[in-house]
Each structure stands twice: as structure tokens, then as C-alpha cells.
Amino acid sequence: MEQIEFNYPAKRKVPKRAHVGVVGSGDLEVLLEPAEGEVAHVSIRTSVDGFLDTWKAVLDRFFTKYDGVVRIQINDAGATPGNVQLRLEQALEVSEQ
């Protein structure tokens, strides 16, 4: 298992928290919570080691469009980059509802 952390600049308040997904094979769980300050913090635990660059690429892209001040925790069981992107967008959608 690998633990990965990222920080991104952020400024917008997020209305509520969101929980989506499941730590099942090829899937992941996303817990998104409103935070304080001007940074979005992402903490990842993944069962599949050695994909730091891929995680960075997916999250860099996600945070080019997203500016919510949040704390995101990801528990991953080998999701593909596309799946990660979809789950992040789903969490975002739930948190803005």
C-alpha cells in the first residue's frame, strides 16, 4: 500500500461534504469535506504501488478546473485513471447539490 499526498491552491468555499464509491476491485472511495484556508489537500491510500506520476497527472488535471477549499481522502483498490476522474467529479457534484 502506498500513501500519497498533494496540495493545490484553492479559494472557493464548498457547501457540503460528499462520500462516493467503494473500495472494491478497480474502484475507489472518495471522501470530500469542506476545509479552511486557501488550499485543497488530497490524501491517497492505494493498494497498488508505483503510480505516483499517474495520480499526479489525474489530480493536476482535476484541479485545473476545480478550486474548492477541501480535504479529499481517497481509498483506492486499483481504479483506472478514468475511473478516478469520474469518482472525483461525482464527489464534486454531490458536494455542490
Binding site: V23, G24, S25, R45, S47
Partner: protein, 291 residues
């Protein structure tokens, strides 16, 4: 054409199996009465999985909700089949047991509280072996304590099924509800094949698996009390029915003489065909059953 009618019914059906675990639990309550206890943001998760290189889940694959069913207080415990095969670890086991114990305490205080357990599980979580085994033993004790006061209803909807130690827990339930897609059994098909050979059980033969472990066969042989479609309103209705029915006069697991008699009458020297077995099992000792 009747075919069109069937298709419309099928398409408009609100599948229960396609709901996620949280939605499944919520769907069983009277609308707007449920609230989750120890949810994912409480982050009570397995401390053992990360030590073994496995990512944990924030709710340890166990959703606990309290609310009202058929106007009565009830607790629903739902296992997430997609996380580690719905297996029981220290945390998920403790969540289930504590939920049932609190329901039992409420009953003792004069507040009738039933329990519904949604079983999508392969049994003990191998990474937490001894703790998982202990958890299932504790869970069974909690079911036995609670079922004196209020019904404990086990629902296996599918498609993981209910196997291993948790099938024993289901055996202690006041009522068991299954869909055709669900399976219930102590040893799963792969385990039987591995232990006794492919001649005994071909685990690639899906028709055989469902003919033996499937909901229809379990219902026909009296090991399940209701066979429901994969239809959310129908399933919620069945659960409400059993909650309203209350504690059964005799629990299935207390009918030791009946089942012992049935097993004794069975000729185990030959292989039984599931259909043939169904006919024999249900006529076998059926007079006693009416007691």
C-alpha cells in the same frame, strides 16, 4: 402483446441489487426516518488492512442505520459486498454486534426495536481471521439475545450471496428473505470443489450452483421465508411484513428434532438431484412442521 407488458414491467422495475449499500439500507425505512450511525466520515476503519498492504474503507464495509420500519423502531445493518467480499473484520463485526445489542437494550427498556441485516458476504475476513471469527460468534450471541424480543430479519439480495460463518448467523434469523439472484450456504461452490473434487461440485456450473444455493431452492426447502423479485418496493414491503409479524412462535433454528429427522431420513449413499431433493425435503416431516 403480453411480451411488451412484461418488458415494460422489467424496465420500470426499481432494482434493489443495483442500489449501493447505503441506498439499500435507506430504502427499507419509512421515508425520511433513517439516519446513519458511525458513517464513513467517522472513519472507524480496519487498523489491520493497511498493515497488510490493503487499502481500508472508511466505514469498514458496514453501514448501520436507525429509523422506523412499518412505524416501529428498527436498525438496519448492511454489508458492502464489493469491499473485501463483504467480509467480517474486527470493526465491521463490532458495528453489527453493537447495533444489535443497542436494539436489544431498547427492547428491554420497552421500546420494540427490530433488526434487519443485509448480508452480502463471504464470511470471515481472512486478513483479520481470529478477530473476524470472534466477531461472528459475538454476532450470533447478539442475534439470539435480540430475537427473543423482536424479529431479526436477514435479507440476501445478491449478487455476492451469504456464505461462511455469516450463513450460520442467517440461520439464526427470525426470518430470511432472498431473491432468485441470491445464494445462501455454508461452503461456497469453489470451496466444495477444492475440498472434494469436481465430481462432487463443479463450481463453473452456474445452473448447478443456483439449483443448490439459490434463493428459489432455499425458499422451496423452507430455509428462507420469502422469495422476492429484485424490486425495491416489493423487498421493502416484505421486510415491513415481517417486522409487523413480530417474533415467530418457533424459530427455525430451534426446530432441532424436525431437521434432524429430515436429515436422518435422507439416503446419503447417492447423489440427489436438486429438484428431486426439493420434493422429498418438503414432504419429509411436513406434519411436524405444522406444529
Amino acid at each position: 402483446m403480453s411480451n411488451e407488458g412484461y418488458n415494460a414491467r422489467f424496465i420500470n422495475r426499481q432494482s434493489f441489487i443495483e442500489l449501493d449499500t447505503r441506498e439499500r439500507a435507506k430504502a427499507l425505512f419509512d421515508a425520511g426516518t433513517s439516519r446513519e450511525l458511525l458513517g464513513p466520515f467517522d472513519r472507524v476503519e480496519s487498523p489491520w488492512l493497511p498493515m497488510q498492504g490493503v487499502a481500508p474503507q472508511a466505514d469498514d464495509g458496514c453501514v448501520v442505520m436507525k429509523g422506523r420500519i412499518a412505524g416501529q423502531a428498527a436498525v438496519v445493518v448492511a454489508l458492502e459486498g464489493a469491499f473485501q467480499g463483504g467480509s467480517i473484520g474486527e470493526v465491521s463485526g463490532e458495528k453489527m454486534t453493537t447495533a444489535l445489542d443497542l436494539a436489544c437494550a431498547d427492547n428491554e427498556k420497552g421500546v420494540p426495536t427490530s433488526a434487519v441485516i443485509l448480508l452480502e458476504t463471504g464470511g470471515v475476513r481472512l486478513q483479520e481471521a481470529n478477530l473476524g471469527l470472534a466477531a461472528i460468534a459475538e454476532l450470533m450471541a447478539s442475534i439470539l439475545a435480540l430475537r427473543k424480543h423482536a424479529p431479526v430479519i436477514c435479507l440476501t439480495a445478491g449478487t455476492v450471496g451469504c456464505f461462511g460463518g455469516m450463513s450460520l448467523a442467517a440461520g439464526l434469523a427470525s426470518y430470511v428473505v432472498m431473491t432468485r439472484e441470491a445464494r445462501l450456504g455454508m461452503n461456497g461452490p469453489e470451496v466444495i470443489e477444492q475440498e472434494n473434487g469436481v465430481e462432487e461440485f463443479d463450481s463453473s456450473d452456474r445452473a448447478l450452483i443456483w439449483a443448490i444455493h439459490g434463493g428459489e431452492q432455499r425458499y422451496a426447502t423452507g430455509l428462507a421465508d420469502a422469495l422476492v423479485d429484485d424490486d425495491t418496493p416489493q423487498i421493502a414491503d416484505a421486510i415491513r411484513g415481517f417486522v409487523s409479524m413480530g417474533v415467530p412462535p418457533v424459530h427455525r433454528s430451534s426446530q432441532v428434532a424436525l431437521f434432524r429427522g429430515r436429515v436422518e431420513k435422507l439416503d446419503t449413499s447417492r447423489q440427489w438431484d436438486p429438484k428431486e431433493f426439493r420434493a422429498l425435503w418438503t414432504t419429509n416431516g411436513s406434519d411436524e412442521e405444522k406444529r
